[in-house]
C-alpha cells in the first residue's frame, strides 16, 4: 500500500542534522547567521463581560530594520477562535495555519463548534514536539460552548490560562497598563479602549513594536475583526508637489541611446 508514498519525508520532529554545521560556521565567523523576520511585538488579550478581546501592534522587524509597517498578527484559527502571534513571523504563521487546518477537519468529524482548549492542546503539543525551535509565542482567545477562554503559549510548549495576558517584546509595557487598569466585568467599549491603551504603550515604549493597533472582539456567536482600529502613527508631511523629479534635475554625464 505504500508504493504510492515514495518521496514523502519521514514523519515528525525537528531534524537536527545541520545544527552542528551551523554551529561550526558561526564559531568560525565564515558565514554570518541569517537574520530572520521577527515580530518584536506587543500582543495582548483580555476577557470582558461577554467574551474575549485580542489586540496586537503591526510592526515586523528583521534585525533593526522595520520590514513590514502594517502586518497582520491576529491569525484566524476557527470562526470562534483567534490567535495573536509573537516571535519569528514564519513560525507563528505556519503553526497557526496548521492547527487551523486540523481544527477544520475536527469540526467536520464531530459536527460541533471547536473548543479553545482543543486549539490550545494542538498548539502546545506541536510546539513541544519541536523543543522550542519553533519560536512562536502565542496569545490564544475565543468563546465556545463552555464560555470565554484566554491562554498564553510559550515557544517550548507551556501554557497559562489568564483573565488578561501580554506577550512579545512590548509585553512589560502593556502589562503595566493592564495591571493598573484591569477589572472584571468590563463592557465592550471599556475593554477595547483598555486594549488600545496597552498596545499603544507597547508601540511607543518598545522599539520592536510600532505602527497601528489591530483588535479582534469575540463574543458568543459573533466576532469583529477591527483591522487598523487605531492609527497612532500617521505619515506626516506629505509633499503636495509629489515626489517625481523632472529630467535633468540631477545633471547627466553621458547619454547613450539604444535602438528599441
Amino acid at each position: 500500500m505504500d508504493n504510492a508514498n515514495i518521496g514523502i519525508p519521514p514523519k515528525g520532529g525537528f531534524s537536527f542534522d545541520l545544527c552542528r554545521r551551523n554551529d561550526m560556521l558561526s564559531k568560525k565567523g565564515i558565514v554570518p547567521p541569517p537574520s530572520y523576520r521577527k515580530t518584536g511585538t506587543t500582543i495582548v488579550g483580555l476577557i470582558f463581560q461577554n467574551g474575549v478581546i485580542l489586540g496586537a501592534d503591526t510592526r515586523a522587524t528583521a534585525g533593526s530594520i522595520v520590514c513590514d509597517k502594517n502586518c497582520e498578527k491576529i491569525h484566524y484559527m476557527a470562526p470562534n477562535i483567534y490567535c495573536c502571534g509573537a516571535g519569528t513571523a514564519a513560525d507563528t504563521e505556519a503553526v497557526t495555519d496548521m492547527v487551523s487546518s486540523q481544527l477544520q477537519l475536527h469540526r467536520y468529524h464531530t459536527g460541533r463548534e471547536s473548543r479553545v482548549v482543543t486549539a490550545l492542546t494542538l498548539l502546545k503539543s506541536n510546539l513541544f514536539k519541536y523543543q522550542g525551535h519553533v519560536q512562536a509565542a502565542l496569545v490564544l482567545g475565543g468563546v465556545d460552548a463552555t464560555g470565554p477562554h484566554l491562554h498564553t503559549i510559550y515557544p517550548h510548549g507551556s501554557t497559562d490560562t489568564l483573565p488578561f495576558a501580554t506577550m512579545g517584546s512590548g509585553s512589560l509595557a502593556a502589562m503595566a497598563v493592564f495591571e493598573s487598569k484591569y477589572r472584571e466585568g468590563l463592557t465592550k467599549e471599556e475593554g477595547i479602549s483598555l486594549v488600545c491603551e496597552a498596545i499603544c504603550s507597547g508601540i511607543f515604549n518598545d522599539l520592536g513594536s510600532g505602527s497601528n493597533v489591530d483588535i479582534c472582539v469575540i463574543t458568543k456567536g459573533d466576532k469583529e475583526y477591527l483591522r487598523n482600529h487605531q492609527l497612532p502613527n500617521p505619515r506626516t508631511y506629505i509633499s503636495s508637489k509629489g515626489y517625481s523629479f523632472p529630467k535633468k534635475t540631477e545633471g547627466t554625464c553621458i547619454t547613450k541611446l539604444f535602438p528599441t
Binding site: M1, N3, A4, D97, M98, S101, Q104, L105, Y108, H109
Partner: protein, 233 residues
Amino acid sequence: MGDSQYSFSLTTFSPSGKLVQIEHALTAVGSGQTSLGIKASNGVVIATEKKLPSILVDESSVHKIQSLTPNIGVVYSGMGPDFRVLVRKSRKQAEQYHRLYKEPIPVTQLVRETAAVMQEFTQSGGVRPFGVSLLVAGYDDKGPQLYQVDPSGSYFSWKASAMGKNVSNAKTFLEKRYVEEMELDDAVHTAILTLKEGFEGQISEKNIEIGIIGEKKEFRQVALFIFPLCVSA
C-alpha cells in the same frame, strides 16, 4: 469461463481481461440502497433513501449525505463503513489542498484525488476495493458539477445519475424527466419523484436524505423541511 479461478486475488487479471474483485464490488454497490443526483442550471441536488434495519434505530444519528468542504457534498450506494473511510480521506485531502494553495479545492480535483485513493486499493496487496460508488455534488467557479466515482477508481461527470438497487428504473425515469436548463427547485422535485418510484413502503422526510447546493455555494442537508413542501398529497 476460468474466471472463478481468478476471482479471489485482486491483483490478478482474469483471462477475459477483467479484475473480478472489482466486478464483485460493483455488485455490492448494486445491492445497496438507491441514491441519485441531478445537476440543474443553478445548482445540484443529491438524494438517497435511508432505510434503517429496524424502527428502533435513531434515524437522526445516521448521515448518508456528508459534506466534504463547504461547497462539495457526497452521497453513496453500497457499504456504509467504506463510505466513512473515504469521506475522512477526502476531507483531509481537501484541507491539505487548501493549506498548500490557499484556495478552496475545485470539484474536479477532489474527485480525482478520491478516485486515486479508490484505485490504490485495486492495485495493492492485502486490501480489497471499496464497496461503494459515490455521487459527488459541488459548486465552484466552473458552476454546478455532479460526478460519479466507482470502486475501480473511474469517474464520470453526469447531468443526472442513479446508483444502487433500483438503478435501471431510476435512470429511465431520469432520462424521461431530465430537461436542459432545469432549475434547482424542479430538480429537487424530480429527485423526490424518482426516489418515490422504487420506494418500498411510505416515503417520508424521515426515511430519505436530500442534499442541495445552490448559487450561494453552501452545501446543505435539507430533507426535513423541503420534503413537506415538495410532495403533493
